[in-house]
């Protein structure tokens, strides 16, 4: 069954490559474990958390800017309507009163402006507030009121405008809605109104957001997620310019797209639904709503055992498998198909070494060399773990299981390669199919990682998760090992079974086939 001479020969032929690969893998492993064990890992974690928070806050700001814009725009539209109605009534009345046209127009516009302003103040805004379901005098109600009147910037009886000071204070150009009323009947009025609203509501929002009491109240809500004032400042949310730029950009984006969408509305879409969809797109929220999902995402990141994932899922399941796979592809080919292809197998078979003995010995060498390789990495990893001081759930028992898992993956894949090596007479066919398949599994695992649940949900690409279903390496489950659940055991069994079946089929095929020697 076992030929010592053949085993010796295989060791001599493939030993050098084995030593090089083993040293390289152990070196890589110790680099990964020692370097990442020096605290950089927790910084990464913080960085991820910050990215999430910053992204969410920005998206919340954008959302707010858009709703400000919509409120302002609707209000001004309503203002226009009231204004026109009032103007015509007064104008017609004045003319019948015998007033000259010019004077009548002046009087009418004055009266209409006052009436429209009054209408907004007394009917429209309270109506809107109750429609939105806010309490009178609540924070939200004040905000709605603020948007409308800061945008309008109403003229006072003495001819000055109410909020000029506010705009001047922030270095914004002062604009008055009264200037637009002269062209109220022109076709460009709608667009001008929108621009006016945009230019006025963005500064209002920015000014509002950077007001100290508002910052304090935002920080209060965010304190649950560990956001400090320093971080908040660092993100730039307490800076007027920055906030205004975010708001302006969002509104510009929204307006540009809205026009296009409304022109190209599909069946079943209403103006409302288009606006709603677009708002979602523009604000580009990573999570649907800030409080709950962000806290979940942050919790997720907080609980992540970064070190364990790095060693288990990234090293043993991916990076660390590459070199052993290369060794395995080359060796499995050299052990059978290569020797049949070149013809050197004739020397082995002409020494009364049975084919059964050949496959058994070569399989034993291949499995054995892989086993010893992962024995080396197991020892290396345990030594490294004892050196580093890092907050992790890894123990030496779990490291042993990780190494066992990596070995079983290699066992299953080497079975496939051994099978193709026994099946084909040509090296290129054996390597092409067996090696190609192994490499495919590895690449699929790499792609699948970006969609796998070990990544925090916000940076995960779910579509890539499908790659996990086509890779045999997925049956190696480091997460289950790290969490201490027993799921990994039956997956290990499948891997072992795949390997065994392939080795057996390969041996049978080699015993039965014609050899071109």
């Amino acid at each position: 069954m076992f030929s010592k001479s053949l085993f010796k020969q295989s060791c001599k032929a493939n030993g050098t490559m084995w030593i090089i690969i083993t040293i390289a893998v152990c070196f890589m492993l110790s680099c990964v474990m020692l370097i990442s064990g020096r605290g950089d890992i927790s910084e990464t974690k913080d960085a991820i958390q910050n990215t999430i928070i910053e992204g969410e806050l920005t998206s919340a700001l954008q959302k707010k800017a858009l709703s400000y814009y919509e409120i302002g725009n609707s209000a001004m539209k309503h203002f226009d309507e009231t204004f026109l109605k009032e103007y015509q009534t007064v104008y017609a009345g004045a003319l019948t009163g015998g007033m000259p046209e010019e004077q009548a127009a002046g009087t009418a516009s004055m009266a209409a402006y006052v009436a429209a302003t009054k209408e907004l103040q007394e009917v429209y805004v309270p109506g809107l507030i109750s429609e939105l379901g806010y309490e009178v005098d609540s924070q939200e109600a004040k905000e709605v009121e603020g948007v409308v009147f800061y945008v309008l910037n109403p003229m006072q009886e003495d001819g000055t405008y109410m909020f000029d000071d506010f705009y001047r204070e922030h270095g914004e150009p002062v604009a008055h809605y009264t200037d637009l009323l002269a062209t109220i009947n022109d076709s460009i009025h709608t667009e001008e109104r929108q621009k006016y609203v945009m230019n006025n509501c963005a500064p209002f929002m920015a000014g509002n957001m950077v007001a100290e009491e508002n910052i304090q109240s935002v920080l209060e809500t965010l304190s649950d997620y560990g956001v400090t004032r320093e971080q908040y400042d660092e993100f730039g949310f307490s800076e007027y310019r920055n906030v205004k730029d975010i708001a302006m950009a969002a509104i510009v984006d929204y307006r540009a797209n809205l026009e296009y969408r409304l022109d190209n509305m599909k069946d079943g879409e209403t103006v409302e639904s288009v606006k709603e969809d677009l708002q979602k797109e523009v604000t580009n929220s990573l999570l649907a709503s800030l409080p709950e999902e962000v806290s979940d995402a942050l919790d997720e990141v907080g609980q992540m055992d970064m070190y364990g994932i790095l060693v288990g899922s990234i090293f043993f399941k991916m990076a660390g498998l590459l070199l052993p796979i290369i060794y395995m592809i080359m060796t499995s080919n050299a052990l059978i198909a290569g020797q049949v292809d070149s013809g050197s197998m004739a020397y082995i078979l002409s020494t009364s070494t049975k084919r059964r003995t050949v496959t058994f010995t070569q399989a034993a060498y291949l499995i054995g060399s892989l086993f010893v390789m992962f024995l080396c990495t197991a020892i290396t990893s345990i030594v490294c773990l004892s050196i580093v001081e890092v907050e992790t759930g890894l123990t030496w028992q779990k490291l042993l299981l990780l190494n066992l898992g990596a070995f079983l993956v290699m066992f299953a894949m080497s079975g496939i390669c051994f099978l193709t090596s026994c099946w084909f007479d040509r090296s290129k066919h054996a390597m092409g199919l067996g090696g190609g398949l192994s490499m495919f599994f590895l690449v699929a695992t790499m792609l699948g990682l970006f969609g796998s649940p070990i990544l925090p949900s916000i940076i995960r690409m779910d579509a890539l998760n499908y790659f996990n279903y086509v890779s045999i390496i997925t049956l190696f489950d480091p997460i289950s090992i790290l969490d201490g659940t027993g799921v990994f055991i039956w997956k290990f069994c499948i891997l072992a079974a795949i390997g065994c079946v392939c080795y057996v089929i390969g041996s049978i095929r080699f015993r039965k086939k014609d050899l071109p020697l």
Partner: protein
Amino acid sequence: MEPVIEIKKLTKNYGEGRGIFDIDLAINKGEMVGFAGTNGSGKTTTIRHIMGFVQPTSGAAYVNGLESWKHSSEYIRNIGYVPGEIAFPDLATGTAFLKSQADFLGLKDMSYADELIQRLQLDPRASLKRMSKGMKQKTAVVAALMADPEIIILDEPTTGLDPLMRDSFLEIIKEEHQKGKTIFMSSHMFEELEATCDRVALISNGRIEHIVDMEDIRNPKVRDFKVEFVNEQDYAHFKSLDFEIVRDQPKYRQVTVALSGDQLNELFQSLRETDVHFISEVKYNLDKYFREKLGRNKEADTHVQ
């Protein structure tokens, strides 16, 4: 006598007319049989069957009475095999390879191997990768012969050897033959088979065309002699005599006659009074023999068509 290698109705059909068909051949103990044929005629396939590497479509090859496909591992130790395509295992040097082969064979005594190395002027310490074709061939021969096997199978063993080396190699093979080894050697060069073999089988397009006893070639019953005459009268006179003329070249005044052993005296008698420029025997060889046979077969084929 029980044949050592016996091939019975062996057929391996690779389709499209390729393969070997109905091969029948028996090689007795101590016999050296040559296997002649052009490239691709089926020599190597037949040898692979004897080695048990290939499963026959029908028929079988037997070695020492054992069927080759099922039982080759039981007798293969007694076969020294030099494959047609020389490729060695992935080892560093020739010495390492020979040691490894000795290990496989359980061979402790390397003295015969050393002797072979000496005689073939081989430096086995050279790296296997850097060896020339000839050196590889020599290494393969040493590996095949060093365990002193009962049967030796050689698949085109002399390709890549220079003429001098080929002679010393054939010398070694002859010696092995004299020691009583059974030898089966394929080649596409008739001369070397002629010089060494007891019998030669000719294979063509997967079928054995002829098996010829080399005694018949070396000592033919009828020999050809070519005579050139100095003058025309003698030439004309000679042609009128009762000899079987195989070839007549009036331009050179040459006549080739076929003589059985006892006619030789008659020839010399008739030439006593004539001026003979030269007289020489036209060597009969395997090449000629097979050409004749194949030519006749081809003729027969064309008649059928």
